[in-house]
């Protein structure tokens, strides 16, 4: 597993302080992040991929500073967004997955091979030639996963990947997260997804207020909401 370190990280959007002095070392295989709306979870998650740079403090992945080595880090850290529509950049399913491999210096045959394998793995092989925007919501999120995983990242960060999906599709995506050999960090409001995770972090108003095994952290969070 990689070692993701938040070292004295604070961040504000304008006047509003979104993260306040966060220190974290993330090295477990499956980590959940929970907290109320607006508590700063997405901001925290985005920092791991360099989409947001902290005002003060540092975020490092395996000792590389995310702010300085963003390019390198993004090959290592795949990011899944809530809305799969915004992650699809190419017109057909197969092209969107293949697109992730551009500029990797791979031969076209190799790209085709890896793309086909990813589509197979996520049950999208039959849709390879179909327009991506006509897939169902669940299939679109599977496509987003396939497009990220084909690049073979070591870490997957997902910001509410199942929020827009129905219960069945959410379970399917959660099952895939369970099977992944990569390190995964999932932000979610669907607490049941995290029951068998290794660690759950609770954020409240930009601070870590609980950080423990799922059963303990989830109880702390429920107490916070009550």
């Amino acid at each position: 597993m990689s070692r993701i370190v938040f070292d004295g990280v604070s961040h504000s959007f304008g006047e509003r302080r979104v993260l306040a002095d966060v220190d974290l070392v993330l090295s477990e295989r499956r980590i959940g992040i929970i907290g109320a709306n607006g508590s700063g979870k997405s901001t925290l998650a985005r920092m791991i991929n360099g989409l947001v740079a902290p005002d003060t403090g540092r975020v490092t992945v395996d000792d590389a500073d995310v702010a300085r080595k963003a390019k390198e880090i993004r090959r290592k850290v795949g990011f899944i967004f809530t809305n799969p529509d915004n992650q699809i950049v190419m017109p057909t399913v197969q092209e969107d997955v293949a697109f992730s491999l551009r500029r990797r210096g791979l031969a076209p045959a190799e790209i085709a091979l890896r793309t086909a394998a990813a589509l197979e793995r996520f049950g999208l092989a039959a849709h390879a030639e179909h327009p991506a925007h006509r897939l169902s919501g669940g299939q679109k999120q599977l496509l987003a996963l396939a497009a990220v995983l084909v690049g073979e990242p070591q870490i997957i960060v997902a910001d509410e990947p199942t929020t827009l999906l129905d219960a069945r599709n959410a379970r399917e995506i959660a099952g895939l997260f369970r099977e992944m050999t990569q390190q995964v960090i999932v932000v979610t409001h669907q607490l049941e997804l995290l029951e068998d995770f290794d660690r759950v972090i609770v954020i409240d108003e930009g601070r870590v207020v609980a950080d423990d095994a799922p059963s303990v952290a989830l109880d702390a969070y429920r107490g916070l909401l009550a």
């Binding site: 990011f79 915004n86 950049v89 190419m90 057909t92 092209e95 293949a98 925007h133």
Partner: protein, 197 residues
């Protein structure tokens, strides 16, 4: 292209995109220069033969060619009135053959192949123009067509649900705002996928 790609394995599908692009340009110019009806007739036959070889269903072709008929509905009588029926007929023929040829290209060529062709064409100029970037721009533009179509539909639905009517501006504002948000989000996901260079 534009989600109209119709998968197949024919020679027309497998021909390199750059060759198809070249032949398409020559074909369109050639048809535009045709002076005699028999020349146009031959061109029409050739295009029809290519459609048969590519085994593209008639419905898909119709979808591509139909919009042009509206244009002809207005232009043909006008031309006939001003320049006579023969000129109008020739113009109609030229337009239909050219559009059919272009449709054949879009129906049998993936965007990836077109991007690859762009890269090849722009290679001699790579010191000034980044072919890959141009290709990416084209792909994103194409991707945005269904996206914006969906946003327009959503906004129309939302208006109807609230029983709202009102000006075109009242429709345009939310569409533009949401399109910009979507573009921003897509841009961000491109960055996250490390595809922003």
């Amino acid at each position: 292209m534009i989600g109209f790609y119709f998968a197949g394995t024919s020679v027309v599908h497998r021909a390199p995109a750059i060759l198809k692009l070249l032949l398409l340009s020559i074909g369109v110019v050639g048809v535009g220069l045709a002076r005699e009806p028999w020349q146009l007739g031959a061109a029409a036959l050739a295009v029809a033969a290519l459609f048969v070889i590519a085994r593209v269903p008639v419905g898909a072709v119709w979808q591509q060619v139909a919009p042009i008929l509206w244009l002809l509905l207005i232009a043909v009588p006008l031309q006939a009135l001003l320049a006579g029926w023969i000129v109008a007929a020739m113009m109609t023929g030229r337009l239909l053959v050219a559009v059919a040829l272009a449709a054949l290209f879009t129906l049998t060529t993936t965007v990836t192949a077109v991007l690859e062709a762009f890269r090849l064409i722009l290679r001699p100029f790579e010191r000034w123009i980044d072919g890959d970037r141009v290709g990416l721009l084209v792909a994103l533009t194409i991707r945005c067509i269904p996206l914006v179509a969906e946003i327009v539909k959503d906004v129309l639905d939302a208006r109807r649900a609230r029983g709202a009517q009102g000006s075109l501006l009242a429709l345009a504002v939310p569409v533009v705002v949401r399109s910009l948000y979507a573009a921003d989000a897509i841009g961000e996901s491109l960055v996250a996928r490390g595809l922003d260079d």
